[in-house]
Symmetry: C2
Subunit: 120 residues, 2 copies
DNA sequence: CATTCATATGATAACATATTCATACGTATT
DNA sequence: AATACGTATGAATATGTTATCATATGAATG
């Protein structure tokens, strides 16, 4: 008598993986963090701040965008704790909040490079 | 005679930062890569694959979503070289393409933790 | 205290994205 | 070759996101 193995019994894998999966909230927070890196304008802002702190209107000029757009994006970056700011008179200077930003971007960069090399 | 400094002369900063900014294409590619991490469903899939390779329908069952939705997202992950797959009969198994994925996610995780601790 | 400059914010419109449904494709089995 | 199963894909819808405009806020200055 032949014992038929069910084509798709995932029970064991599912049980194992399910037990190791982090809470939904953590996963959402992570996704939300990466979402912040996932926009060209914000990435440009971050790269700019790699070089130097900058005021809002300088960034706007650099990227050729409206000051308002930059302000909105800086708010997003600030909410994610990626940048911080300081006021000096009328001017507000933004700068990187910590070095994680560089590390995360650098990791992404490495991945791109590797991907690129594989495709040769 | 008092020399007035123009309130907002960014020329020097702009020149410096501009010269250091990577090409638009690189920045776009980077943003596009992080965009892939920036979705809860995809992040759940990645976390699942941390544990074990899985077939499409197992992931669908695990996440309680339609098989089609998972297929679509797996395609996005594959296009970004974050996952790869192998066929075994009718079944297609997906797995992490390399360890960058873990590293990138871990960096994001670290940032979240630090942010959380600062808020205490 | 009215004005100017720098920044922030709210509303809106244009665009992008994710999920589902329906269905097609590919593989194995009878 | 007909069927069943697992996966992929296209279209459509619902939902999010981004940039801009208009305008408000906040700080310095005459």
């Amino acid at each position: 008598m032949v014992v038929h193995i069910l084509a798709h019994n995932h029970e064991e894998i599912l049980k194992k993986v399910k037990s190791e999966l982090p809470e939904d909230e953590l996963i959402c927070d992570l996704a939300d963090l990466f979402k912040v890196f996932g926009d060209t304008t914000r990435m440009k802002i971050l790269y700019s701040l790699f070089e130097s702190e900058m005021c809002v209107c300088a960034i706007a000029e650099l990227l050729g965008m409206a000051q308002s757009a930059i302000s909105h994006q800086l708010k997003v970056l600030k909410n994610a704790n990626l940048v911080a700011n300081r006021r000096e008179g009328k001017t507000v200077y933004y700068f990187l909040a910590d070095n994680h930003v560089r590390t995360i971007v650098a990791q992404g960069f490495d991945h791109l490079i590797e991907k690129h090399q594989k495709q040769k």
